[in-house]
Symmetry: C2
Amino acid sequence: MKRITLLLVGVGTLAGIVVFTTTTSRNVSAQGVAPIFGTKIPDGYRDWGFISVAHEAGELNDIRTILGNDPAIKAYREGTLPFPDGAIIAALHYRFIPSAENNKAFGRDQSFVAGAPTNVQFMVKDSKKYAATGGRGFGHFNNDGKTVDDAFMKTCFPCHQKIKERDLVFTRYAP
Amino acid sequence: MKRITLLLVGVGTLAGIVVFTTTTSRNVSAQGVAPIFGTKIPDGYRDWGFISVAHEAGELNDIRTILGNDPAIKAYREGTLPFPDGAIIAALHYRFIPSAENNKAFGRDQSFVAGAPTNVQFMVKDSKKYAATGGRGFGHFNNDGKTVDDAFMKTCFPCHQKIKERDLVFTRYAP
């Protein structure tokens, strides 16, 4: 499912391809993460607008929220395609875990919540800088401090190309 | 699981108990909803900050995001308990549905996303106005235009009381 999230890139020369707009994150979830391929976590992404939620079962077994900066949210709401340069989408991934306290209150085992954060991914639109990858730069930041290798990153763009009709973005806006 | 969401109230005289701060919602998800018990949907709630996500299986079978206004987000991040008066938490509920297009791209059936919105619920903190219900006013707005009855609303506060140690709020902040 790494392949069906919003991010990650596939081109030969990844180094330097992804350069986000700001330097460091003030966010809790940015603690301990290591930028890869020279990328930086966009400042303030944790305050971005809500786009949607999803659950990926299987090996990923995560629950996630998709957030967007103002240009991304505006494009979603207005149905603008392709997304404008500067639009950035973030996918915040958490372990998908049962909530014992919720289930106890409800008297039934049915509640699943966000556990420990696993990683955060970004997809930034810049039609010139990232022309070789559909106008998209991608980044992945693990919360455990581990980075990912080129082979991992190379799986992303080919998959996102499958949703060309929505400018490489799988996630639909949740009203 | 209505009972373990963030809202809903239980007292004899529900009418007039919930009075939110603004008049109408500009938001897409507010279209067609009917205020109940005299409540109004807080203006601009769809732009509020992200708190967490969850999936409720069973009869509810939903996926949801929990958002908060600035005072709520600040309290969460600073670990402030009880929440300050004026803090409002919103729970946006969507049908939990498989994503055929995601699964196709991934080559595996594992992706579940937000389907049609079902309802939005609010919990507002006002220790004086809602003293009889733990300082909390609750509201529920269906997206199909249907309202809920008193019996439904009365199930909420007794359940939320079970999480008194976190000021009646089940949802934990997702970093």
